[in-house]
């Protein structure tokens, strides 16, 4: 027994002495919180903003975003657009991969072809609804050879991209990781499936290189890349990411100085606002993430398809007090939203006004008005011939405690305002949630969508017949026609007409209450006073650290 005791004491002593060790205080290190793990560092696999942020730290595409979210040259020093707007010629600068190889036009050709063949969630971004790269959809469906994709490299520093239709936001689209280059030689030297799974299997050409990374790890370290073409303008030496799952934990880690930049939830925001010192560090960053209710309108769905009735959908949408949701439950600066396109997003190129700046334009169908909601509800009851509607409302509960609060508040509001509607809350793991949405076994889903590029079309294409097959099962030929005209049709080249056609599409969507928009999310962050120059964007890459001083 005495021996065991001695042994324990020894272990304890060893631990304690080991702990005295130093916290290295490096002034040139930025420690940043991540809300969740990165899914993947491979653009063909990644689906989340965390992964995109990491990729953007390490890899430069043709263009990059400046502090205001405008596209400015990156690997492409300049570009020419043909008169019909369908051919882009990019002139690449002398940039190097971290292993010393030149960044060439072939690297882009390789990466784009590969993306079409291997990507799942983001294969569409090359296709007709977004970038309109020639033949992209055919290549994705494996109906055409990858060589037919509209991208070519006449020489190693010139890249020519052919489009099916003019795309006004094409240069800003090039900031998105799906369009980043991959070093072909390096990629082929790796064992299959290992690309981007460790610092050794990932090659950067951007501002930072990976020094410590493992899939699923909570601790990611990056370091300044000295062979970056713009290295002289990067002053940050080290960038550390720490995955923190609890908002309370994030707040304490910030107070402690363990992290310099954290995101916090509503309860913590309210606490910080009452704290004179901390409130100086608080910043509310508007995002382009729209939180909405998605109604399953398939008449064959498992609750008899009551939601195929437009009046029932309108009743529910009008029975929700969105102001109360954001002021009482979300409380992180999110804004109540009454349009299908989030606020603070997609400014008009001429007027500079956001697409959804006028929140009242559809107030006759999306608002909070109990009287009106009950009128719609009475109509629905008469049409469907029943008084009680028992509906499942599903949501993924790994998205933090905010959505859990929102779900409960919606249940309480709808059940109170529409007597006869019963909402059964069904939280579930993300895997099951995604499966339920894809296999059509739900009534209402609390879901969200963040813009991939700076154009309302990133939302509107979700509800075309093809896009909606995956969720709402709603189909409207007029709507489809407008979207086609705006993407590949006649309107693609006419900025103003296209802009107003998109309002028409949005109106069809909301008059039919295909979805019930809830709020445009915001991100409440605490940032150390001595950290300057972190760029926040509402599109594609949420945070950029290249300009940190």
């Amino acid at each position: 027994m005495r021996k065991i005791l001695m042994f324990t004491l020894l272990i304890l002593a060893a631990m304690v002495t080991a702990c005295g060790g130093g916290e290295e205080k490096d002034s040139n290190t930025l420690k940043v919180m991540l809300g969740s793990n990165a899914v993947s560092l491979d653009a063909a696999q990644a689906t989340d903003s965390v992964s995109f942020e990491l990729m953007a730290d390490c890899i430069d595409g043709l263009t990059q975003m400046d502090s205001n979210g405008k596209a400015i040259p990156a690997i492409a020093e300049s570009y020419d657009i043909s008169e019909d707007g369908k051919t882009y010629t990019f002139h690449l600068r002398d940039a190097k991969w971290a292993n010393g190889d030149e960044v060439t036009a072939e690297d882009f050709v390789f990466a784009w072809r590969r993306h079409c063949l291997e990507s799942t969630k983001y294969a569409y971004i090359m296709g007709a609804t977004v970038a309109c790269v020639k033949n992209a959809d055919a290549v994705t469906k494996k109906e055409a050879a990858p060589e037919t994709l509209g991208i070519s490299a006449p020489d190693s520093k010139t890249l020519v991209v052919e489009l099916d239709a003019p795309v006004s936001f094409f240069p800003s689209l090039m900031c998105f990781p799906a369009f980043y280059p991959i070093n072909e030689k390096f990629y082929n030297s790796l064992e299959k499936g290992t690309y981007g799974t460790s610092p050794e299997t990932f090659l950067s050409n951007g501002a930072f290189t990976l020094t410590e990374y493992l899939p699923g790890t909570s601790n990611i370290r990056l370091q300044k890349n000295n062979s970056y073409w713009n290295a002289q303008n990067i002053s940050l030496e080290n960038l550390q990411y720490q995955v923190v799952s609890s908002s309370d934990n994030a707040l304490t880690a910030f107070k402690n100085g363990t992290l310099n930049l954290v995101a916090i939830n509503g309860n913590q925001v309210e606490n910080v606002k009452n704290d004179a010192d901390l409130s100086k560090n608080l910043k509310i960053i508007p995002t382009g993430l729209l939180q909405y209710l998605s109604f399953n309108q398939d008449a064959k769905n498992h609750h008899g398809g009551a939601l195929a009735n437009v009046n029932l959908r309108l009743a529910i949408s009008n029975a929700i007090d969105r102001e109360s949701l954001v002021n009482n439950y979300v409380t992180n600066g999110a804004q109540a939203t009454y349009t299908a396109i989030p606020i603070n997003f997609a400014p008009n190129a001429e007027t500079g006004r956001f697409f959804a700046e006028d929140q009242k334009q559809f107030s006759d169908v999306v608002s909070f008005d109990v009287e009106k909601a009950r009128r719609f509800f009475d109509a629905a009851k008469a049409e469907l011939g029943k008084d009680i509607f028992d509906l499942d409302i599903i949501y993924a509960n790994d998205s933090g405690d905010t959505v859990i609060k929102v779900a409960q508040a919606i249940k309480s509001q709808v059940e109170e305002n529409l007597p006869g509607v019963i909402l059964n809350l069904q939280p579930m793991p993300k895997a099951e949630y995604l499966d339920r949405v894809t296999t059509n076994s739900y009534d209402i889903a609390i879901t969200n969508w963040a813009p991939d590029y700076d154009d309302p079309m990133t939302f509107l294409t979700l509800w075309t017949t093809e896009g909606s097959e995956i969720s709402e099962h709603w189909s409207n030929l007029d709507y489809d026609r407008i979207i086609t005209e705006c993407t590949t049709g006649d309107l693609a080249a006419n900025y103003n007409e296209r802009w107003s056609a998109m309002y028409d599409a949005e109106e069809i969507l909301l008059r039919n209450a295909v979805i019930a928009p809830l709020y445009t999310n915001a991100s409440a962050v605490l940032i150390s006073e001595n950290v300057k120059g972190v760029d926040f964007h509402s599109v594609a890459i949420e945070r950029v650290f290249k300009n940190v001083k």
Binding site: L5, F7, I11, V39, A44, Q242, T252, K255, K430, E469
Partner: protein
């Protein structure tokens, strides 16, 4: 004895095979796709299923899987981490969880035994009551709440330990999670030790030994502990498996890249990653079976009566 052990090992291998099969079948019943399906159309899903060979009869799939296992690989992930080979990632996570688990088991058992013995020797007195309170507190406070308290006081108020887990500074960052994990072990072990010891101390042979003039540690070690150990070992063994296989919540709070978190990610992440769930399931079961096997053999060493019974059977 050797024959008995050999037989047990063979049985263990068979059990592991059966477990692999059961898991293999069950995972295919689970809701959720084996790959991320966010915004994927039905035809894309179908194509993906073909690629993974999920259209083949299940026995063929199982045979393929066994072939792969036999070649020493756990295959590639299906939804986690872009289909990278599982083995290196799993090993890294196992390493982290194991190290912390081992520390907490050693600590928990030693402290638990100590508290239990002290309580038993002073039964009915103040120290006994005190030890009871300590052990009850241990079961009442969830380990993650204790972890939060530790983190709050010893990383935030007094910044002595790192606030998040840091693999490059392993020892000091392992202290708090190991301590909070060992809490449950301490209370379980101490409670059982005390009760078993009190029972043994009342038995006639201990009284006889006492009458012969043995006392204190001598008596405890020679007569009481040895007999009280059997049920205690039964309690410790499952704890060992629990602690080694990671504690998801603590791993999440403290940012440890461990197997508990990996398992939850594999089941509840973007999709149900069939291969990760299987690989982790097989490793966990192998561990469990190995420990149970060891336990059975240990029984024989501690209590010769069981060895005799085994021989008869």
């Amino acid at each position: 004895m050797t024959k008995y052990v050999a037989k047990r090992i063979l049985m263990a291998a068979l059990t592991l095979f059966a477990i692999t099969f059961v898991l293999f079948v069950l995972i295919r019943i689970m809701p959720g796709n084996p790959f991320p399906v966010e915004r994927m159309s039905a035809e894309m899903i179908l194509q993906k299923r073909l690629e993974l060979g999920l259209d083949k009869p299940i026995l063929v799939q199982f045979a393929d899987y066994l072939k792969m296992l036999a070649s020493g690989s756990f295959g590639n992930g299906t939804s986690l981490y872009n289909g990278a080979p599982i083995k290196p990632i799993m090993l890294k996570c196992l390493e982290n969880s194991f190290k912390i688990g081992v520390i907490s088991i050693l600590f928990g058992t030693v402290v638990g035994l100590f508290i239990g013995i002290v309580a038993a020797m002073h039964r009915g007195k103040f120290l006994d009551g005190f030890c009871t309170v300590v052990s009850i507190l241990g079961v009442c406070i969830p380990s993650y709440v204790f972890m939060i308290f530790l983190q709050y006081f010893f990383s935030y108020k007094i910044p002595f330990f790192p606030y998040f887990f840091d693999a490059s500074n392993f020892l000091s960052s392992a202290v708090m999670p190991a301590l909070s994990l060992s809490l449950f072990a301490i209370s379980t072990v101490s409670r059982f030790t005390r009760n078993e010891m009190v029972e043994v101390m009342n038995s006639d042979y201990v009284k006889l030994a006492e009458a012969k003039g043995l006392y204190g540690w001598q008596l405890m070690r020679r007569h009481v502990l040895r007999n009280a150990l059997i049920p205690i070992v039964t309690v410790i063994a499952p704890l060992v498996v629990d602690l080694l296989t990671g504690a998801m919540v603590i791993e999440k709070i403290y940012g440890i890249n461990g197997v508990g978190k990996l398992m939850v990610d594999a089941i509840a992440g973007q999709g149900v990653d069939y291969n990760y769930v299987l690989a982790l399931g097989i490793v966990f079961s192998a561990l469990y079976i190995a420990i149970m096997l060891l336990l059975d053999i240990l029984y024989g060493i501690i209590d010769p009566r069981i060895r005799l019974a085994a021989k008869e059977g």
